[in-house]
Symmetry: D5
Subunit: 144 residues, 10 copies
């Protein structure tokens, strides 16, 4: 373990987050998400909820404020405006780390297509419905 | 995820447990344990307690009833008969899965030497003191 | 071997089943099926029948109840409505594990095309005609 | 599958048997044998009995008639002259393929030490007690 | 070496033949054939004639009787109906192993295109003209 | 880059620091140190001073307070009590992160022997004399 | 370190520069640039400025004088004729090594597309805005 | 070194030449040629002239007499009929080994496209202008 | 194939012979020799006699004239002075290539020990008794 | 090629020289030296003399002035004080780059033992007798 770095972030996940650059994307997937054969590298986080992982990742990784949607979930199939309970949890965690950022959703297959191009997928142990979120990395600005 | 298999057991850990044979050993290590450079393969379980992992593993893996000590922790340094709170948790979980088995401890460096020869080490997120346990796999007997 | 896990499922096959997610597919192929050079990873099960493997896999892997066809065999060439004896065996095993699921078939070359996109192929020792079956993995729902 | 070659022998096992030379040894291990972390390469044969594998292997592989013991099992622990039922099965299969050869046994730890130096271990699904046998490869003599 | 298996078939070639399934193809190429950079894996058989290899392979591998052309050579360039002496040798060996099968030829570039999709190429030491043959694997039928 | 993590720590070095456990050691070596062929993995940090790296590493990695010497340099050859200017810089940085820790030195060849057993070596661009330091990782204690 | 070779150029970067030929391109990227998942190999230079790297690389690598643009930065988004302070620093360093060469810029996405086809990307620690530069390698002419 | 084999041909280059078949191509490239990132495997021959390599290769490798152009250089850019001094050297060496063969040239980008599909590129130390040549391998005919 | 190089020498064997230096040894082993699990790399030459291989290898590889024994066979077990027919064949081939060299033999286990330290083993198809020979490579002297 | 770096030093050799540290050793071996199976990595320089390589390497690599012998050849076998012509060539090149350094020799087998522990061996095309030299790398001192 390291000082000031959330212990949920193991060596490989930490290396991936550090190696990602501006605009690269990472997916936190729920326990049933078909991650292994999707394409990107998979970091396993069996037994860990998607919300705990989101909190840990946002502690170190900035979101991209160059785009409107930097934290994207999957819309409810057949009811794109419906709210899932986990959406509010996602939004609260995002607000804590990036007060001006908003959680949004995209249609299910658009989500899959984007996940295929992500830098990595973290397969969590999340069992709640719609427990997937894609994060777009922002930049660290130079200290003036 | 699979039916009737604890979700804490991811693909690689499950494969290791399945591949182990009679007398092979696996270590559940705490979050500060020096696992990576020890020798055996390491399965990471960041954020998961050693006790949760013990319960998950004993759900599928039998302990070795050919030997007296098949679930071994690390004795308190300098006070080999002292009890740590986590010892009792370990014993309760063992008793639930293997009623006749007893948790025991060995001296710290004997524990390290044995861990070096284990089939694998699971690096948990356990932060409690003395949160390490080595398990010796038993056999599945033919149904009569 | 492990407790409560069918011994036919070896380490690598178990890991593949565990790693598969919602909608990923696995093929149980007969002994003459051209699996090795098809594309997906191959798990060998020489000497084991397709029906024994089907029973072992369905013991741990749920079928996908989001789609109509989650257990698909190959239709008889030139006689798509003909029944093969092994079809009934397949259906019986499916019914035992997933009472509401139905075995169906697709045309031979559609079967091949789908197998190419499967997560894995298990090459069994099945010698009966039309002894191939493709399975689509379902989800484990959270316990309420 | 191939003509005149027992279908139990898959591609990798067949290659190992073919590559072995005079005096090289292979172990057929039972389902609980600790094969994976022993050292030699492991061929899995989950679900197949040790006796079926013995028959398949002896169909193609000659035993070494330069030594007295070319088919060796594990002696009963604590009772080295006791007979196990599977010993007789092993002997019958050996007699069918190599009429002048005799099954013998060595003490348990001598068996382990020899297995560590074997060319390969076949992990069978054998669940009967003492279902392990080590085979020493002989030569194919030139046709006169 | 193994009993009843032609010694020309070394470990890797034997494994390839065993792993091939119904419809997979293998090419026996002459010594000048551009095999190495073609695509499929290459088994070298320097110094061995194409006809000896054909005899060895057909001893264990059935040809595909579901298609009309399962043993295909390269037609003489510019004279597609011309007979090469090695064609007759090929046909004799085929007839010995598969009495009802006929050797046929395809145009040179059609041969190359098919070779690119073969499971493997065996580069022989054949120096006779048109000493190439592509074989399509058949099935082993269950014993009734 | 990541929030609150010194940018000098790239993906692989960060992963190594995270994977190290209690008692594992890492060496910051100067630009002439023979690191590449020593044994441990090497992280290159060409152009970066040893003192900047020390500061970056101690920002995230605790030193081992179970031992007396957790930050060890190389003693001046032939004059083991001599002070090098860089020693004071090392001590100041250590004091800032671990107020109770003291920089010490060991004889040159003892330093080499220990470096061979380190988890990793960071090859810096340090050109000052005696610009090497070995760090022993401590633990993160649970929050009470 | 080596004589007359800038110490910022470590072993792998030096090998890449040496292996590049006429017209191959290398990118010096700033600390936020998404290099890792772009395609080309990445050399890390955490903590080093883009200008220091540019000076070190141009000390050994000639620019391509067969084309008009051999040192290309990224134009300011939305204001393609705007000057960034780092542009002048780039030009000064270029002028020192290649007096007749001019720094130019291309539009952001044209820069990304070209970087994807580069031989390598050096990920620097540059934090200034628009701190990226792509270099096209020239030739060493024979001494007359 | 070996008897009767030019010592310029090291182990890997010799293996490549031996493995190439009828019609496969190899490029001898000059010291500035962009070989490393082109695609084909690269054999380095730093310090060796293209003409010495040509002589060594033609000592063992026949050129293809089925085509009109089996030894092809790069035409002068903008002046396709101009002669370069090295062309005459190439022709003399070719004439010595293959009396009836003629050196020809193709336009620069046609040369690059063909080099991308070559079996290998030998990167020589040639510094003369237009010191590149592509060779198409011929066959060894059976001794009558 | 290449000009003036015996076609029995394929790409990998040719590379090994070329890479061997003064005093390195290579073994031509018979078809029953336990080569695969001995240690050195194995080149397969199924179907080729040991004498044909010896002739091919000595065409390109000089024997070591710094030692008394550079071509060594295995002495008959129990009768170290007995002559085997193949010994004379070996001697004739050696005499043809290296007129002053003599074939000698060493005791069986001394042969095995030396084979373990050889650069490589060529597994031939030789079926004659005592068809093994170890060759020690000599040097190519500079042309005066 | 690169500016001011001898073109004989290709990418991999340059990387090795750059990665070596104080006291690491590299061997320039003649064309008959048994390098490939010795242990260290081998860089091939077929066709290049040992003296040209020595000159190229000493252009960039400092010799170790902490020891008495940093450039060591092999003494004449049986006549340890004899001078070989190439010794004088070696000394002249050394003197040009390191005026105060002296070429020395060690006994043949001491040379072999040291070569086994070297960082790398460069296999040159040197054909002169005793054309081997081992170089011990020195340091680059900070500019005062």
């Amino acid at each position: 373990m390291l000082k000031n770095i959330p212990p949920l972030l193991g060596p490989e996940l930490l290396a991936t987050l550090r190696a990602m650059g501006h605009g690269d994307e990472i997916v936190i997937a729920d326990a049933n998400f078909p991650a292994e054969f999707l394409g990107p590298q998979v970091h396993r986080a069996d037994g860990i909820s998607a919300t705990d992982l989101l909190g840990a990742i946002l502690t170190v990784m900035p979101l991209d404020d160059f785009v409107d949607q930097a934290a994207i979930g999957m819309a409810v199939v057949g009811d794109p405006h419906a709210r899932q309970p986990i959406y509010d949890d996602f939004q609260q965690i995002i607000t804590r780390h990036e007060p001006s950022m908003h959680f949004s959703t995209v249609e299910r297959f658009a989500f899959y297509d984007r996940a295929k191009k992500a830098a990595a997928v973290v397969q969590s142990g999340e069992t709640r419905l719609y427990g997937n979120i894609l994060l777009k990395k922002g930049i660290i600005r130079p200290k003036s």
